[in-house]
């Protein structure tokens, strides 16, 4: 079980990773932009601290934190964002599809809610294989009105599948308030299927860890799924295009209030100042090395653009011949 310093380190790593990635977007070193998870780091840090390396997760379009917290190499992750041949996905996935099967990251998914049944299937398969592995799937508040998420709740509950549903409720589905897109409650949706559900302080890594540990124990013990609704706030844009497009949907006052409670400060207050400074310096070094690795990494060869389209190497016709 992670200690306070380890949780702080994960939050700090994700925060600095996102800040450096946003800089690289501005410098046009990252093509296409990103969905920064700044402000939501406690959820990734707390949930993954309750998982084993061989447990699996599925992530979302706002997924850098999850992928890093589960153990992916920040350098190869940054290289992936920069579209490099040595990125996690060899430059084929980018920010929204980062995956690292060696540490149980079954991929970030760019269709809201679509990974909920995939994680449920992975959980079912783990049990079929006689393993006590669990699957954990993240989605935002915007996903709770996707039929496929509710269908996945039903299947997971019917089968008591070892899956943990983690809703990161940051109050906004892009520019629509939760209250304007979701009738009823989020926990109520799970409860309707007989799935235990809890609201968790998603700004506190230790609270998230405690709640997740309980859910993981339930799943490993054969008692089935849990939903955790983690209340959080997105400090930055929905996507970096907002930095130039500047759509108006949150007032500066709201953003300021939302940023008042920062997971970095919450967790940082729990460890000695000297330890915190040492961790910050370590993370800084790690991120410097990660950015250097990413920018020095080779670009993929356009001739390989269709590699991996099929697992068995089936080749398709070119677009011009």
């Amino acid at each position: 079980m992670a200690d306070s310093a380890a949780l702080y380190r994960t939050v700090r790593l994700i925060r600095r990773f996102e800040e450096r990635a946003v800089e690289l977007v501005r410098a046009k070193q990252i093509f296409g932009g990103i969905h920064p998870c700044t402000g939501q780091e406690a959820i990734a840090a707390g949930t993954c601290a309750a998982l084993r390396r061989d447990d699996v997760i599925t992530s979302t379009h706002r997924g850098h934190g999850h992928v890093l917290a589960k153990g992916a190499d920040p350098a190869r992750m940054m290289a992936e964002l920069a579209g490099r041949a040595t990125g996690l996905n060899r430059g084929r996935g980018g920010s929204m599809h980062a995956a690292d099967f060696t540490v149980g990251v079954l991929g970030a998914n760019a269709i809201v809610g679509a990974a909920a049944p995939i994680a449920t299937g992975a959980a079912w398969a783990a049990r079929r294989a006689g393993s006590d592995r669990v699957a954990l799937t993240y989605f935002g508040d915007g996903a709770v009105s996707q039929g496929v998420v509710l269908e996945a709740f039903n299947l997971a509950a019917l089968w008591r599948a070892p899956v943990i549903f983690v809703c990161e409720n940051n109050g906004w589905a892009t520019t629509t308030r939760t209250a304007d897109h979701a009738a009823g409650s989020i926990t109520g949706r799970a409860e309707a299927f007989g799935i235990p559900a809890a609201r968790v302080d998603g700004m506190d890594p230790e609270a998230v860890l405690a709640a997740t540990a309980e859910a993981v124990a339930r799943a490993r013990g054969g008692a089935g799924p849990t939903l955790l609704e983690c209340l959080t706030y997105r400090f930055d844009a929905h996507h970096t295009w907002e930095h130039t497009a500047r759509p108006r949907y949150r007032t500066p006052e709201e953003v300021e209030a939302g940023r008042a409670r920062d997971p970095l400060a919450v967790q940082g207050a729990r460890i000695p100042v000297a330890d915190r400074a040492r961790i910050d310096a370590d993370v800084e070094q790690l991120m410097d090395a990660a950015v250097r690795f990413a920018l020095d990494a080779p670009l993929p060869d356009p001739a390989t653009a269709l590699d991996h389209l099929y697992a068995d190497g089936t080749r398709v016709r070119a677009g011009a011949a």
Partner: protein
């Protein structure tokens, strides 16, 4: 030799693969009771852990199969109705199919999607009569449309062993076929390898799925005047372009009969490829459903929109007589 029905061939392929490979499992609606008969006997033989009745949640159980495949299982999903593929399209095309490329080859998604009785089932009307194989070929999902019992067996076995998602359409018009086969000779059929059911020298007819049998009947009727070669691609993606080119080297004339809607159907792609790259001595023709067809209910109306033998005969005669390209 023994008589093998198309339905039994599907059932036997699944049974043999479940016997051979303990990771093969079956998902679908009413698969334990086997309402389509395709999964008859499976739950008794392999147990409820491997033969799962699903709630009416096509999107979710299609995604579950993807997750299970990412974790070492080889699920087969049976969809009772071809249009259910539209509900599951996102999970098949945008999820299962894309994982290999998007992850840079980190994983594979071996799932087989089986649609027994695809196309018109006679009187099942607008929402149960689609034949959407061209959609899957278009997006690049491996797509098989077996015409005969032996090919149904062989292609389904291959699909189950394939490391990528594969959709297998078993056309309603072929489900009743029976064939005298040597059971010991039943074998996997590779994807991307067509089959010439009848050799000929004047016109190549490319026929998809159940239409192979119509093409063979028309070829026989015309045999006194026109020598028709019947080419069955068996899989639409990958497609046996080499096999088609070799046939056109012999005939130089092409008719395609395809149960897709006309615009953007596989028939159009076959004509286009032949026109671009193969030997054609006369303008080719295709017989398809109309543009954007929705099959109406009444028998006369349902039939009116499907490719008919009359249409095929006329097309063959026209192409055979057509003046050559200059």
């Amino acid at each position: 030799m023994t008589i093998l029905s198309y339905l039994k061939a599907l059932n036997r392929a699944i049974t043999d693969e479940m016997e051979r490979d303990p990771t093969v499992c079956v998902f679908g609606e009413d698969v334990r009771a086997a309402v389509t008969n395709v999964t008859a006997g499976l739950v008794k033989r392999f147990g409820a852990e491997r033969v799962l009745d699903m709630p009416i949640s096509e999107q979710a159980f299609t995604g579950v199969a993807t997750g299970a495949a990412l974790s070492g299982q080889r699920p087969l999903i049976e969809y009772q109705i071809p249009a259910l593929l539209f509900l599951a399209f996102e999970q098949i095309v945008n999820q299962a199919h894309k994982f290999s490329l998007m992850t840079g080859g980190q994983t594979r998604v071996p799932v087989t999607y089986l649609v027994p009785s695809s196309g018109s089932r006679d009187g099942w009307a607008g929402q149960h009569s689609d034949h959407p194989y061209s959609l899957f070929a278009h997006v690049g999902v491996k797509t098989a449309v077996p015409a005969t019992p032996a090919d149904a067996y062989g292609l389904l076995v291959t699909a189950l062993r394939d490391d990528d998602p594969v959709v297998v359409f078993a056309p309603a018009g072929a489900m009743g076929r029976r064939e005298d086969v040597d059971p010991a000779a039943l074998a996997p059929v590779p994807l991307g390898v067509g089959r010439i059911h009848r050799p000929g020298t004047d016109v190549t007819v490319v026929a998809v799925g159940h239409l192979v049998h119509d093409a063979l009947e028309v070829a026989e009727e015309l045999s006194g005047t026109i020598s028709v070669e019947v080419f069955d691609p068996r899989t639409l993606h990958p497609f046996d372009w080499q096999g088609l080119a070799a046939s056109l080297e012999r005939t130089g004339r092409l008719v395609v009969v395809d149960d897709s809607n006309r615009s953007c159907g596989i028939g159009g792609e076959i004509l286009a490829t032949a026109a671009e790259q193969m030997r054609l001595t006369a303008p080719p023709k295709r017989v398809t459903r109309p543009d954007g067809a929705v099959l109406p209910f009444a028998e006369e109306l349902d039939r009116a929109l499907q490719p008919s033998r009359d249409q095929l005969r006329t097309a063959i005669q026209t192409v055979a007589k057509a003046g050559g390209f200059r």
